[in-house]
């Protein structure tokens, strides 16, 4: 058409380039990948040869011993795992609420104390659950108690972080109202803050329980109780079929518990 052909094309504004940040980031990521691959000794061919080679774990994987559910010892270990998860969640997740409140500006007017609590939370969060278990087994000895203590700190780590994040987004209005009526700090937190986060918090506790259930399964690997000890036993003896049978049975249960937990959590909101 004439109008489009005649006049010289208008000059477009300068094209915005891809942000330097994104380009830089991608380059760093790529470089990091190459460097790490080298230092770890990554080799695709090696992976393929190793996977295709005949090996016991994979064979055991193909014929897992479903009979593990009937084994008495496995069942006892299983129940111990459950109990560890319950108690760990109960004590750990409940302690997380005051700890999280204590790390907020409105819950802890003292700046230094607040920083101290936040730093402690950060340190606790950076130690993985199995390391806690290792430490406690060394200090206190093998057995369920070490597992319990490890789960306590792990639960603190998980739930405090989630609760703190939620507390960052609450409505300050009721807090102002409670303070304006002469309530004490504890009363203000109990009536103006906790009701706002209670559904989320309960949801976190349930989630924490799911995590603890999974965690308590592996704590036994270092001797802290639960089915982890059975798993370690089977591994040492090379009995992969039983090992996989146990693993699958256990995680089937975990899966079911998770589904229940999700429905419960939906009901809360």
């Amino acid at each position: 058409m004439t109008t489009l052909d005649d006049a010289p094309p208008p000059v477009l504004p300068a094209k915005p380039g891809v942000s330097t940040f994104a380009v830089g980031g991608a380059l760093i990521a790529a470089a990091l990948t190459i460097v790490t691959a080298r230092s770890v000794g990554f080799s695709l061919s090696e992976i393929i040869t190793n996977f295709t080679r005949k090996n016991s774990p994979a064979e055991g994987l193909l014929h897992p011993d479903w009979g593990q559910i009937w084994s008495r010892r496995s069942r006892t270990a299983f129940i111990e795992t459950l109990q560890l998860a319950v108690i760990g969640t109960a004590i750990g997740a409940t302690s997380a609420l005051p700890l999280a409140l204590w790390s907020t500006t409105f819950g802890n007017p003292n700046r230094w104390l607040r920083m101290l609590v936040r730093s402690c939370n950060n340190v606790i969060r950076s130690i993985p659950d199995l390391l806690w278990a290792l430490l406690f087994v060394t200090a206190v000895g093998i057995g369920a108690l070490s597992g319990l203590l490890a789960l306590f700190f792990f639960s603190l780590a998980v739930t405090t972080k989630l609760t703190s994040d939620t507390l960052d987004g609450i409505d300050m209005g009721p807090i102002e109202a409670a303070n304006a009526s002469g309530a004490s700090l504890t009363q203000m937190l109990r009536t103006a803050v906790v009701p706002q986060i209670l559904p989320s918090y309960t949801s976190f506790v349930l989630y924490n329980f799911e995590l603890n259930l999974r965690a308590s399964a592996v704590l036994g690997l270092v001797g802290a109780g639960g089915i982890g000890q059975r798993i370690e036993f089977f591994r040492g003896a090379g009995r992969w079929e039983e090992l996989w049978g146990l693993v699958f049975m256990f995680f089937l249960v975990v899966f079911i518990v998770e589904r229940i937990s999700v429905t419960l959590r939906r009901r809360l909101i």
Binding site: D171, G173, P174, E176, A177, A178, N179, A180, S181, G182, A183, S184, T186, Q187, M188, R190, T191, A192, P195, Q196, L198, P199
Partner: protein, 258 residues
């Protein structure tokens, strides 16, 4: 009684929200404060219960020097002063009753608050407060299920439950429609007259101010520029308080008509 003597408030960012204020409010008065946004209305109201500390000067409330009170003393003072907010400041997830009971927190021991079991006497007081604002049928309703006007009534009930000698209302009707605004203002006026509670209200709708106030205080840039009965206030007076000519936004009826 509330007395400001040469009181000033300067915020950390340098803004001077109150300049050498001299003001005396006797017991049982119904006072309305008007002024543009930023004129210092909120600051004045929040200074009375110590939420905003004075930078200089004196403030005496019910015989106590607010500046000299320690934390416990401030809590005692605040328990005697009820406050009503523009945003209602209710806990949305809990019931109306629990919200009103927040007014009794100062009198109820902490352990009872923690488990949520309030003494029957305090529940009775809450019930009376709810009855007074005619919302008792909603006692167990969640606060989030109420309309704006109903929420503000719960706010008033909460303040009443404190059994205060002073009620501070910071723009209590700014979020409400005209008919509801009148309802709320009428409650405040009734409460002041029947219970003898000193009431200080911030308003930005001038027609509401003249309708309900015994005494109007005008603030401009933190300075008191008018102090007199509502009958004396006409548009010229308001224009001098605002320092500009009035617009439709300044009166509720005209604003509502938009």
């Amino acid at each position: 009684m509330i007395r400001f003597s040469n009181a000033s408030v300067t915020y950390p960012n340098g803004v001077s929200a109150m300049k050498d204020l001299d003001l005396e409010i006797a017991d049982g008065e119904f006072v309305v404060i008007v002024g543009l946004s930023g004129a210092g209305k909120s600051t004045l109201i929040r200074a009375v219960n110590g939420l905003v500390p004075l930078t200089s000067g004196e403030l005496n409330v019910n015989g106590h020097d607010v500046h000299a009170l320690n934390r416990a003393g401030l809590r005692d003072l605040r328990s005697d002063i009820g406050m009503i907010f523009q945003g209602f400041n209710l806990v949305d997830r809990t019931t109306v009753l629990k919200n009103v009971l927040m007014g009794r927190l100062h009198e109820v021991p902490t352990w009872r608050t923690l488990i949520g079991k309030y003494p029957q006497a305090d529940i009775d007081i809450a019930a009376r407060a709810l009855a007074r604002v005619e919302i008792i049928e909603k006692t167990y309703t969640r606060a989030s299920d109420l309309s704006g006007g109903q929420r503000q009534r719960v706010g008033i009930a909460r303040a009443l439950a404190q059994d205060p000698s002073i009620i501070l209302a910071d723009e209590p009707v700014a979020s409400l429609d005209p008919p509801t605004s009148h309802v709320v203002m009428r409650y405040l006026q009734q409460i002041c007259r029947e219970l003898g509670i000193t009431t200080i209200v911030n308003l930005h709708f001038l027609d509401l101010a003249t309708t309900y106030a015994d005494r109007i205080i005008g603030l401009r840039d933190g300075v008191l520029v008018f102090d007199g009965p509502g009958s004396e206030c006409d548009d010229t007076v308001f224009e001098s308080i605002y320092g500009r000519s009035l617009t439709a936004d300044d009166t509720m009826t005209k604003h509502g008509a938009l």
